[in-house]
Symmetry: C2
Subunit: 470 residues, 2 copies
């Protein structure tokens, strides 16, 4: 008997045929003469109900199965009695493949997201994590489709980096000497002798693929990365991971304006794609009893998809914020030109003032990285952040300084060591062109769209300070 996936049964409306389904039991309900099994095989949010008649030889054993057990069931697919288009199976054969006993951690009553974080190897078996991770899949596919259609090339930027990318964040050291330092070669001052390490120098986990992305944009025109990046800050918040995935497009001949447009289109594409391909998953997530998504989240997403994003400069943002009546909204941090926008400011702008994603551009150079292009005012740089309701910053980007002299001057001002970045400076030495790019935190986009409010719940195996199980 050929095996059918539950997704295909419902999508292709397959009835009045004999088939086999294989999956895991979500629930068993026994009535007088029948047992009703709800089976999920992971292919879709939807499960299928299977009616097992007591005449089956192993009925007693089947009726005693616990949720979580794996079975293969053969039977006839028929129109269900209930809702329109519902399909059920009348079982003729139930093969028990893998049982669970009472020690199975995923019991009905113990499925809070907090508890499930400790069961990261099993939580994908719940409806909630099935939904989140299928949305994650679709957002990844949307990403490749969006950039590929536009003629961008996918770049695998390196994970092991020899560059201490100044200012981008604290880094993890990678070494083959660290495992047992008593046997490792050391320098005169007692440190590890990285010149004798595997790569012949100290190496780090990459915090960004941007610099290498710029190299490749200078050849392929438009590229994007989509890979893991790392931060070793001791940030134990609901919005930070030590290991997270980032998408970083880089476009030759583009300016800040063009890249802001690209970022807008990309976010809208992610929303459209997920509404189209993961409608059942989003519906399930928004309707969950302990859902943290706003009540009107589906409408909000559609509105964002169909609306123009707000675009203001940092200076305009400060003007808006400084005029807010403290009786309406009291900020903890100052709203004066030259001070950084804090999360409270970002969220106020996106959530309360505009109620829309906001693109803030042209920040004071002091807040931003060395490679951002200086504006003619000499004070601000061609940078942008995109702020969304519920999250705050989701995208950061900029036009890059493509003038060698200005870039070197800025690096000197910031007391940076230019030597390790000789190759990055070469891009400005040979055939330099204006170019721009941005970075989107994939998990933050996923939080935004699913309404899930802890970043640990949108990545399969979260890595955070003191936490690297599984």
């Amino acid at each position: 008997m050929s095996r059918l996936k539950v997704k295909d049964i419902f999508q292709e409306n397959i009835v009045d045929v004999e088939a086999t389904v294989k999956g895991w039991i979500r629930s068993v309900r026994n009535s007088k003469k029948f047992s009703f099994i709800v089976l999920n095989d992971g292919s879709a949010q939807q499960s299928i109900q299977i009616i097992v008649d007591e005449v089956l030889p192993n009925y007693a054993e089947v009726a005693a199965l616990l949720s979580g057990s794996a079975v293969a069931i053969t039977g006839r697919l028929v129109k269900g009695g209930g809702k329109v288009q519902s399909i059920e199976m009348q079982a003729s054969l139930v093969e028990i493949i893998g049982k669970v006993d009472e020690t199975y951690p995923l019991q009905k009553k113990a499925t809070s997201l907090e508890f499930l974080r400790e069961q990261a190897h099993l939580r994908i078996r719940t409806n909630t994590f099935g939904a989140i991770m299928r949305v994650r899949h679709h957002l990844a596919m949307a990403t490749h489709e969006f950039f590929s259609k536009k003629g961008f090339f996918y770049l695998n930027s390196p994970i092991v980096s020899g560059v201490d990318a100044e200012g981008a964040g604290e880094m993890f050291t990678i070494s083959t000497l660290a495992n047992d330092i008593t046997k490792a070669p050391k320098t005169k001052d007692g440190k590890l002798d990285f010149s004798k390490d595997y790569f012949g120098k100290e190496t780090f986990l990459a915090v960004t693929g941007q610099l290498e992305g710029e190299c490749y944009a200078m050849g392929l025109g438009s590229i994007y990365t989509f890979g893991p990046t790392f931060r070793s800050e001791n940030s134990n918040t609901t919005r930070h991971l030590s290991e997270f995935w980032m998408i970083e497009p880089e476009v030759a001949f583009a300016d800040l304006d063009e890249i802001a447009g690209l970022a807008t289109d990309y976010i809208k594409y992610l929303i459209s794609y997920s509404l189209l391909h993961a409608a059942a998953e989003l519906e399930f997530l928004f309707a969950r009893e302990d859902s943290t998504a706003p009540k009107d989240h589906l409408e909000v997403l559609k509105h964002v998809r169909d609306s123009k994003f707000i675009r203001i400069t940092y200076t305009e943002a400060i003007e808006i914020l400084s005029k807010i009546d403290p009786a309406v909204k009291k900020f903890e941090y100052p709203t004066i030109w030259g001070h950084e926008l804090q999360t409270e400011h970002e969220r106020f702008l996106a959530e309360e003032h505009f109620k829309m994603p906001v693109i803030v551009t042209d920040y004071p150079k002091e807040f931003k990285a060395f490679y951002m292009k200086l504006n003619d005012d000499g004070k601000t740089v061609k940078a942008m952040d995109i702020l969304v309701p519920g999250i705050g910053e989701i995208i950061g980007g900029s036009q890059r300084e493509d003038n060698l002299e200005r870039l070197e001057k800025r690096m000197d001002e910031m007391n940076m060591n230019k030597d390790p970045l000789w190759w990055y400076l070469d891009l400005r030495r040979f055939g330099s062109v204006p170019h721009a790019g941005f970075g989107l935190g994939f998990e933050r986009a996923l939080m935004y769209i699913t309404g899930v409010n802890n970043i640990r719940d949108v990545i399969p195996f979260p890595r955070t300070p003191k936490n690297c199980d599984f």
Copy 2:
């Protein structure tokens, strides 16, 4: 004037319109009254020829430009004089954006692949690396399309791993203590005190995503990973990288036979897709003066795409090899049952004996990982390797041991510490099902299809022992 990409000009056959192209000069040839510029913008293998008339005000400066300079050229697109469907531009305006001088490393005569490896930040500006990296892009897109169409979900398995995945290869340690061990907390015996490290334990760069992939296959049914993996072996060969990308599908309810079929279909899909989407790139690579692809490589690829893969057991492979007349082929290593197949054996089978990819299955358990399912003979496991001409092993896979007792017994036999893998064992404890998967080395697939014979040339920034520049 709207900018057009060179790819679109040729693909949509755009002529008799005014447009702007932006890119880098591949060559300038000056005749009496004209300068002929060949411009590439990275969007396609193809460049466009632009005719610059001496009447242009900055003609002298344009005619003196060196290859590698960046320009924006506006003019009229017209049918070219030469080949069918060729299109040229008659320039009316040449804007010089970024020059190069004589110090530019990519001079005509200095473009050996060896030399270009030292210019990894610039080599993407050559036709050869443009071709390779566009093929790489298309193989990545083919991968997502292949698995996504089949209902597989993309899984981002973790890169930072707390598990010393026994037997899979040597690992890099990740630490925030290693940067300055003089200040780091240490244990009584003078080693780094990893309990005080960032993650509270010693952590490593993942050598595989398989174990986490198995967790997710038990929920989503079918998954695949596509991400970076790491080996710290001191292997300085043309086929090894310290950082490489791997694709690892894992399928619940699948056996070895099914996964071998999936792997076959996948390799064929990669070939079909690249022949369709990167025909110009492959043609260019096969025709290069120093191409290492076999002369009939295009025909070979088509043959492989259209043919059934050979499938033999390890035992049959040994029988074949042991019967080979030493006058025909003399092997260095023994061809006796119980000895590992060496690269010389693998390549002989694929290249000389079958002249086709060969799937070898059912290896002696001693050669293989702890998690592979034991056959009824008690001696061999449900493993497979796929061997291809020119490379050797390109895929390794297996059906996994889904029986808890047998798996624990095997781990005990191999003196493995079961404690850190409690979660992996849980998969066999709760709702266990037969399942199988494989791993494809992405760069090896790329080498196979492009015929490029050094793995350092098919990844943007290669990481190998003592080599982590850029």
